[in-house]
Subunit: 410 residues, 2 copies
């Protein structure tokens, strides 16, 4: 091991584990709140001093995660190195591991969160359910796949897409031909999968330690808008126990088979099989805390952020019992036009009307569609919980209540 606990920055209490996080977004920010309570504190590689996570950490190195020297400098002396995104070049991570650093998760696992084609091949290999897919390396590949799935084509960039980016649904064979042609010409590696007749989307999350311990969370239902997570409900309502168990077991199996460490999110398609029975198949994987796990901050004994810290340090995992019958998480995305009412005033209004809403803001400035915060609400009555979470997030976004929402009705 390279220099464990050698960092002499005053941010780190002697003897407390040090976790280096590569990345400066809200996921790193919320890891810091968990780390603080556990008695440690993060060492951050950030792009700027005013980034979301850098605002709330004392030991911040400025640098580029694509630069090996920066990543190595941030890693020096820490007990574990982890990430709030999947974009650190794997060759840098391989180099760090060769130098004795403790990188979690490791590139062997991360590759399956980075490359959508490799992911599907691996998942099929281990027997996990994925929709029919194919590598698209030519226009002919694309057209053959179109014919094979009778036009139900979802075209995806193999790398770099998220939040609805890098995904296309061509409506016609000609459209597909042009898309594939221009994307390949632009150097975008492609794959295609068969569109799923969606009944909904689920997310099965689990944490796994380097020692091999696993601990899942209850499966949640998520709602996407324009490819971006808008809402998550935990536990997923209307799902029978057998399917719930199947999704949970699947997440554990994938974590094991792919050697994931830290938090793994398995985004699932919920569909119907030929007999009208509910069925699941895998949409995407993320190897870090995930938007569909934000509910755990207020609805679960151990949040995904605490669990990720525990997992990458190979500490025993925490209990994942819920603390309320239902928790709903609603995202706060930047509106098309930022309302003139200052965010601080919107927060005050929401606090007044929904005193049990748990508001989480990321210290980010407005940009249309940008994730700038989320709201959790907990309780027994799902409809009421959902109404409160939605109304609070809507007001934070638009400075007005959703249509039909009567504040006095709460």
């Amino acid at each position: 091991m390279s220099g464990v606990n050698e960092v002499e920055h005053p941010a780190h209490a002697p003897g407390a584990p040090i976790v280096t996080v590569i990345g400066d977004g809200q996921l790193a920010r919320m890891m810091q709140t968990a780390a603080i309570e556990l008695g440690c504190s993060l060492r951050l590689l950030a792009g700027s001093r005013d980034a979301s996570a850098a605002q709330v950490c004392a030991d911040v190195l400025l640098g580029d995660f694509r630069n090996l020297a920066s990543v190595r400098e941030a890693a020096a002396g820490s007990d574990a190195i982890t990430f709030d995104h999947e974009h650190v070049p794997n060759e840098h991570l391989d180099e760090l591991i060769a130098e004795g650093f403790n990188v979690q998760p490791q590139p062997e696992a991360l590759i399956f969160a980075q490359d959508k084609l490799l992911m599907r091949k691996k998942l099929r290999e281990v027997g996990a359910p994925v929709p029919p897919f194919a590598a698209i390396e030519s226009v002919d590949d694309g057209l053959a796949f179109w014919d094979a799935v009778e036009g139900q084509v979802c075209l995806k960039a193999r790398r770099g897409g998220y939040d609805g980016k890098g995904v296309w649904f061509p409506g016609q064979r000609e459209e597909l031909r042009e898309l594939v042609s221009s994307l390949l010409e632009a150097g975008t590696p492609l794959m295609a999968e068969k569109k799923v007749a969606l009944r909904g989307e689920l997310s099965a999350m689990v944490a796994r330690t380097p020692s091999g311990a696993t601990q899942p969370w209850p499966v949640v239902a998520s709602v996407q808008e324009n490819g971006v997570c808008a809402q998550a409900t935990a536990p997923a309502p209307g799902i029978d126990a057998e399917l719930r168990r199947r999704a949970e077991t699947l997440s554990i199996d994938i974590a094991r088979e792919l050697g994931v460490t830290g938090v793994l999110a398995v985004e699932l398609f919920l569909s119907e099989d030929e007999n009208g029975q509910a069925d699941i198949s895998i949409n995407e994987l993320a190897m870090r805390p995930h938007n569909t796990g934000h509910w755990t901050q207020d609805g679960c004994i151990t949040s995904q952020f605490e669990q990720h810290i525990r997992a990458v340090l190979d500490l025993p995992l925490g209990a994942t019992n819920t603390t309320a019958p239902y928790t709903v998480m609603a995202n706060v995305l930047g509106a098309e036009r930022d309302p003139s009412m200052p965010m601080a005033d919107r927060v005050a209004k929401v606090m007044h009307v929904v005193p049990d809403a748990k508001i989480h803001l990321y210290g980010k400035q407005h940009r249309p569609g940008r994730k700038i915060g989320h709201v959790n609400a907990c309780g027994e009555d799902l409809e009421s919980v959902r109404r409160r979470a939605q109304a609070a997030a809507h007001f934070l976004r638009h400075a007005q209540w959703p249509e039909g929402f009567a504040p006095e009705s709460l």
Copy 2:
């Protein structure tokens, strides 16, 4: 107002409120975790860069809270100035207020948390129950009080005492004479109160905003060891609803009458009146988050740290419903001799045996009797909850389980 939001430190997102905290201990540290999630971040006046709270904040000024220039520098540009202790000289705070700074709570209230004699006079004046007391300005005062309460004397330094310091229980008249004589000679202003025949201790906590809104938490039972809080149980078991309501109402009344803003802790003696009925009287006041309120981090919708931030910013207060039938908080104090097992290994062991224990560590080094952390456990069965919290805290302190505790029994 002096320069609201004028601070241009990158720790502070434009438009987000800035709270300056004078003090660098665990209370400020835990305010930071609450502030982060609310989308703000603290500006800290700390004594050293490696202090508990300074480890986890980006905007830290080093300075002495007894120095007006330091306090003024820390206050500059913030929306509210608050404290994690009561020791900032009130004349400095008066000066800041005169200069237009928003200090919460204000010296007019703080004085009653600083001077135990003024506190009791004020409480008696507003009709709140306090044990018989007297100013002790001479040996004769002391002896007269001894006679009046038939030797049931608790002698207290008027200022500066906490965690059992500055409190004496003389067993004999002669002992009292010598104590008073030497303490007065040493320049320690004194008061005395009649010892209460204790059945237990309670803590009634409430938050109040500058606008006058109040929100209490459920009353808790606390256990002191050697004058230091060892444990708190929420809600206080075995207390009838009428007494609970009386304690709650009392805390609200005191907050109003004394003009407290932020969090107020009213430490209560639980005793029996002449008819054997349970009765309460006031022991101490604290005008900040308090050890007996740490349970709210894991057992309540709104923690005392979040509520304090909301209150000092005059934001609407959060709901204080509990999230579990019972929460027990057990303190982790430095043992007489620090065990050889490193704290990180103790943490791992506790995480393994008690996976639902919520561990909170302060980044502090060992010193006998020093508060270095606490553990919260939640659940339905009080005995089980207590056993888990106690065992976890005990192991963190001593690197061994309490006598008679069988880890496999959990």
